[in-house]
């Protein structure tokens, strides 16, 4: 057990444990709160994968913004109680079976497939390099994403504002 392995298992446990809480908790606010450690665990995995910039963005966007947004939505809709009755629909059992089957299958596929390790050395994934890549090779995706952002911004405002 190297230190990296220890860190990995801890982070994986944190992530998956939080995710279980998110999925199973009967209290929607608990679910939302559990998202934070879950996202932070994923952040840790990113750092282990040398993706520091992605990790920073993950914290900023997911943990800092999306979670807050979700908490906001919960508090604006449930009147702050978070306990609005039955949380699970009638297909819970089938859903659990399918999800479990999905997990098993994905793991089988992931472990059975002989992944070819790519050659080359790990470049430093600096913000500069990522920015260069965005503005050179991936400029179209970048611009497309900007447009989607703009549209969703307007869409969200138009949808959520009161009609008066």
């Amino acid at each position: 057990m190297t230190g990296e392995a220890i860190a990995f298992y801890i982070l994986a446990a944190v992530t998956l444990g939080s995710a279980v809480v998110v999925v199973t908790s009967g209290n929607i606010v608990h679910s939302a709160a559990a998202l934070v450690p879950g996202f932070l665990g994923v952040t840790g995995l990113y750092i282990l994968l040398n993706a520091e910039f992605v990790a920073g963005i993950q914290v900023l966007i997911y943990a800092g913004a999306i979670t807050v947004l979700i908490l906001f939505a919960i508090m604006l809709t449930e009147g702050g109680t978070g306990l609005g009755g039955r949380q699970r629909n009638e297909q819970a059992l089938v859903g659990a079976t399918v999800a479990a089957a999905m997990a098993v299958l994905l793991i089988i596929v992931a472990t059975r497939t002989g992944w070819t390790a790519g050659g080359g050395t790990l470049p430093p994934y600096t913000p500069g390099a990522i920015g260069q890549s965005f503005l050179r090779q991936n400029i179209l995706v970048f611009e497309g994403t900007s447009i989607v952002l703009l549209v969703s911004l307007m869409g969200a405002i138009m949808t959520a504002r009161r009609e008066d």
């Binding site: 860190a7 606010v29 608990h30 709160a33 910039f53 900023l60 908490l71 508090m75 702050g80 978070g82």
Partner: protein
């Protein structure tokens, strides 16, 4: 495995920061606040515990530790308890990327992350989650209102702050705080980026919920806002988080705009502390000088003034950066 030592160093470092910040910065900060407010209001302030009241905060802390932890009857206990951890933790995590000075072996910093500024923005944004959790978990309408206000305010002011950070990063050509400080060897960025500095200062004031953006904990309206229901050590931890965040913001402002540890004659750490406390003084000065914003004024100020101004500043800076590179 070199990085194990890194992890250990970070953990140990955080613990050191924790105690250091808790004992020195925050306690001294609270005392300073009381003293300065007293001075501004022509009072004396705490005077009896220790010489000139220096140990007053220590005494308060001991008192708080002894007090009972009251949990409201219908509160969400898990959330109520965990919010206390999130707020100070998020504040303390900020310090990882702040360079306090230089030693012979290199800058005095816990990790010179190459995404330093981004990291700072990310961790400081985590505070909101804790505040929302505290507000909701208390099962108290004042707390919830305070939490919601705080969330709205912090989310809103994160944007101009982030834009100011990006502007400085653009000028320095790096997100690393050490590189940014090194970039100010000749000229502090406050000279070239006064607009960004002002935007950052205002946004930072809002981020730490200080006057004139203290409508989160507006005593006359919301008792104490999101931590109305907290008592004892938990109350102390919130205070720690608040002051920790304020110090972190000031330290970041020093790093980004005031040349960090740089300065003549005196050792770097001393320079850093001097600048830091100068900014802290500005924060306190402002606190005891200005009245509170209304919530719509607060939101309008960010969306209609700060964000356009900082975007414009960013665009102009980017233009000059490009022109300078040509």
């Amino acid at each position: 495995m070199g990085w194990i030592s890194d992890v250990l160093r970070a953990i140990v470092g955080t613990i050191i920061i924790f105690s250091a910040v808790a004992f020195i910065a925050v306690m001294f900060g609270v005392l300073l606040e009381r003293k300065i407010s007293a001075w501004m209001q022509s009072r004396l302030g705490p005077k009896h515990v220790g010489p000139q009241g220096l140990l007053q905060t220590l005494a308060d802390t001991i008192k708080l530790l002894q007090k009972e932890n009251i949990v409201p009857a219908r509160a969400d206990k898990v959330i109520f308890a965990s919010a206390v951890i999130v707020v100070p933790l998020a504040a303390l995590l900020d310090y990882v990327v702040i360079p306090f000075g230089t030693t012979r072996s290199g800058p005095l910093i816990f990790r010179d992350l190459n995404i330093g500024v981004l990291y700072f923005a990310a961790t400081s944004s985590l505070v909101v989650v804790g505040i929302l959790m505290a507000g909701w978990g208390s099962n108290n309408k004042y707390a919830l209102l305070g939490g919601m206000r705080s969330a709205a305010q912090m989310v809103t002011y994160e944007i101009p702050m982030g834009l100011a950070l990006v502007t400085v990063a653009l000028v320095a050509g790096s997100l690393s705080t050490v590189t940014i400080v090194n970039g100010q060897a000749r000229l502090w960025y406050i000279v070239t980026q006064p607009v960004a500095f002002l935007v950052f200062l205002v946004a930072a004031t809002a981020e730490v919920n200080r006057v004139p953006f203290d409508l989160v904990e507006a005593e006359s309206e919301l008792v104490a806002g999101y931590f109305s229901e907290y008592s004892g050590m938990r109350f102390a931890l919130f205070q720690l988080g608040e002051y920790g965040e304020m110090f972190a913001m000031a330290a970041m402002a020093v790093t980004l705009f005031l040349g960090g540890w740089r300065g003549p004659v005196l050792p770097p750490v001393v320079w850093f502390v001097v600048k830091l406390y100068a900014l802290i003084f500005v924060f306190m000065w402002v606190r005891w000088t200005y009245p509170r914003f209304r919530i719509d004024q607060m939101l309008n100020f960010s969306w209609k003034i700060l964000i356009p101004v900082s975007v414009l500043n960013l665009v102009v800076t980017a233009f000059f950066a490009v022109v300078a590179h040509r």
